[in-house]
Subunit: 246 residues, 2 copies
């Protein structure tokens, strides 16, 4: 039995004050850090620690690489931004494990982190203070028809919504379509928050009515939060009340 | 202008290693800690710090008390377990602020924390690795018909689901009705996770098929996670794949 292990760790949205002590301890005990280039860049180099940055969209290769390192006795942290279980590396690792039963005995821990939507919500107020859902708008791994189905059910169910990966250079037109669907399902005054690069020096938060929302307000560093029909402003804040009247 | 402030801070699910440095720093700078009895009990007493534990269901009174303290120049941390923006004190504070415009200038910060569903998901694997929603099953603040509407839309939209406050002594029968609704909407083999007191010494995690789930598997310290139709086991883990086939 190898003494190696894998920890899949969430680095939070950017601010080092949001990295949990649990994640910090795993990074201190690690021999190897594996992850997407900008996330590995957040880990301070030190003697005895090998950094293995890799490109986007190679999640399964990266997971397999981590499993192989752990089998050789290495102590591996796979870094994600935010929380590793929310549109990040935890599921990719289990997919790789499922495809490689010989690695089933690997010592694996998932270490949660502050996910982008909750950091964004905190900066804006409490827009996710009532029932809500999280939707990855990227169609890299699912057909857009599935995105549309989820948007309509989320709206009709009265959920607030948080959107990850709203827009990228390779699919500039989809977010426009998302806004069209929301306009079919929700009233024009519905509040929409665009929270870019939260807790970093580039942070920018904008809140507009759905009727004023435009696709260029989002990019890949933006989390978009759509309130429910009760979401409202109080002073500079945006919040969703805890109650639904009978 | 008073030098007082309010920080609404998430203590995470229980393990001190999941309290962020940001929250730790706020507690160290505070003169007063306000919150529900078991959460205030997690804060170490020290000279110069007044602890103000209060009972459940007095969220608005507690928020108003914090606003009054801050107006007197006190540095107040309102503690929630998990994340303060998820079925916790952040929305209650903004409700109190809305009702008391004289306090609109209060210096307020919301400090995110590790919310129970993401801690539970991490312990179990990655059941929330694809689109998901969070629903508060308590009908203290909304009619049960609203819970039912959200459950059905969540299921029909293909979301995984996390349930907060699934069951209490005052409403023992509702969770049974929730399971009935899920059985109408989902296949019998759908995986259901019961995660009790995660990251504490009392932690207990059980995963069963929906057909085997019974109401007594949940209590007020349990978060329930229902997978989507692709959620599956790999070894001792439960995860939801990142992909939806076209």
């Amino acid at each position: 039995m190898s003494a190696g292990w894998i920890a899949v760790a969430g680095l939070g949205p950017g601010d080092e004050a949001l990295v949990t002590p649990e994640v910090r301890a795993a990074l201190e005990a690690a021999t190897d850090v594996v992850g997407y280039i900008p996330y590995v860049a957040r880990v301070a180099p030190r003697e005895g620690l090998e950094l293995h940055p890799s490109d986007n969209r190679v999640e399964l290769d990266r997971a397999q690489f981590a499993l192989d390192l752990a089998a050789r006795g290495r102590r591996v942290v796979i870094v994600s931004s935010g929380d590793p279980g929310v549109f990040a590396m935890a599921s990719a690792l289990f997919e790789a494990l499922e495809a490689d039963p010989a690695r089933m005995g690997t010592d694996i821990r998932i270490l949660p982190g502050i996910t982008a939507m909750l950091a964004a919500a905190a900066r804006a107020g409490a827009p996710l203070g009532h029932d809500f859902c999280a939707i990855n708008l990227s169609d890299n791994l699912k057909p857009f028809a599935e995105v549309e189905r989820r948007l309509r059910h989320a709206a009709r169910g009265g959920f607030a919504m948080a959107f990850y990966n709203p827009r990228s250079k390779s699919r500039p037109h989809q977010f426009e379509r998302v806004l069209e669907i929301l306009r079919e399902e929700c009233e024009a005054a519905r509040l929409v928050l665009f929270a870019r690069a939260v807790t970093t020096p580039d942070e920018a938060i904008t809140c507009v009515a759905l009727s004023e929302a435009t696709p260029d307000m989002a990019d890949m560093r933006t989390v978009v939060i759509v309130g429910n029909e009760a979401t409202r402003r109080v002073g500079r804040w945006v919040y969703t009340p805890r109650s639904v009247p009978a």
